[in-house]
């Protein structure tokens, strides 16, 4: 199925979780947070939260700013 991760379409297996999708963009999930369709998914729920076709996932971290 197609999932939009940080604005880019990605092909993931049908039973993919938020954790699987995060792993496509970063290996180090420390200091990282994810929002699924504009709702934050807490890290403890990443593995249990299944994705569905056309979900939008944003994966953010801290960068220089302000």
């Amino acid at each position: 199925m197609k999932i939009i991760v940080n604005g880019e379409p990605r092909d993931l297996p049908e039973d993919a979780s938020v954790a699987d999708a995060v792993a496509t963009v970063t290996e180090a999930p420390n200091g990282v947070a994810a929002a699924l369709n504009d709702e934050v998914v807490s890290r403890s729920a990443w593995t249990a939260t299944r994705l569905t076709e056309a979900d939008r996932l944003e994966v953010l971290t801290a960068v220089q700013g302000g």
Binding site: A35, L60, G65, G66
Partner: protein
């Protein structure tokens, strides 16, 4: 020696004490090592970061620099144009960084980067209700500062002039009005260019100064960071000392009695 201040003189925000009244930003530094040197020279204990999509190719994190120097992280919502974007960004920052503190920025347009007051108050209210310690970047409007305080913000952070402009404090009168009426800390945020701007902010009665560009884009960032540290301390002391009133005419500082007479 007489103590210069009564005991220690910490900045207190939401019950938390900071020994330094200089809050730093991290944007604009040419490298992580230059940033680290500047932060160390500034003496800051609280420093902002932005939240962005992870970049798989990026190496070294600004968080490592802050950790190395024992500096507390303050995530911001820079780049958000609506209350909705800012609230989501703040929640992501809380999840990623494990802090419920946020520097709230909701800007109106990319040209001025001035705050959108309507969206700002809306976002502040939502975040306060959700348990955040909200530090809003605001225009130098005493009425808006008051409204932000009323919805429960832990500080108000009026701009001196537009972000990154280096124009200093364009309306010191408004900053004084905000300081006079505020019951939460006032942090002068944005627009400072050099050390005298930071000293002026403190002399006007601000509790702290937040700056980034003036240091990170200076020719010698660490040197300017040290200058800012001293300026904030000098301005604070001058404020506590109570300056002399301005006078229209001179007032001799040497006595006129006992002058030599010439014939």
């Amino acid at each position: 020696m007489v103590p210069l201040t009564e005991g220690h003189d910490p900045l207190v925000i939401a019950g938390e004490e900071f020994g330094s009244r200089l809050i730093m930003g991290t944007g604009g530094a040419p490298s992580m090592s230059v940033l680290g040197e500047a932060l160390a020279a500034s003496g800051t204990e609280l420093t902002t970061v932005a939240m962005r999509r992870v970049d798989p190719s990026s190496r070294g994190s600004v968080l490592d620099v802050l950790r190395e120097h024992g500096i507390r992280v303050l995530p911001n919502t820079a780049g958000c144009f609506t209350a909705g974007e800012a609230v989501l960004t703040a929640k992501l920052a809380r999840e990623a960084l494990g802090t419920n503190w946020v520097k709230l920025e909701v800007i109106a347009d990319e040209h001025t980067l001035l705050p959108d007051p309507i969206e700002l108050v809306d976002a502040a209210e939502q975040l306060v209700d959700d348990g955040f310690v909200v530090l809003p970047y605001t225009s130098d409007d005493p009425v808006l500062a008051r409204r932000l305080e009323q919805v429960g913000c832990a500080a108000v952070m009026p701009l001196g002039s537009p972000i990154g402009s280096g124009l200093g404090i364009r309306n010191p009168h408004n900053i004084e009005l905000i300081v006079e009426r505020a019951t939460v800390p006032v942090v002068l945020d944005a627009g400072l260019g050099t050390a005298s701007d930071a000293a002026l902010a403190m002399e006007l009665g601000c509790d702290a100064v937040l700056l980034a560009t003036a240091v990170t884009r200076a020719q010698h960032p660490a040197r300017m960071a040290a200058a800012m540290r001293h300026a904030v301390e000098a301005g604070r002391l001058a404020r506590l000392a109570g300056r002399i009133p301005m006078r229209r005419y001179a007032q001799a500082s040497s006595p006129f009695e006992g002058m030599v007479k010439s014939s």
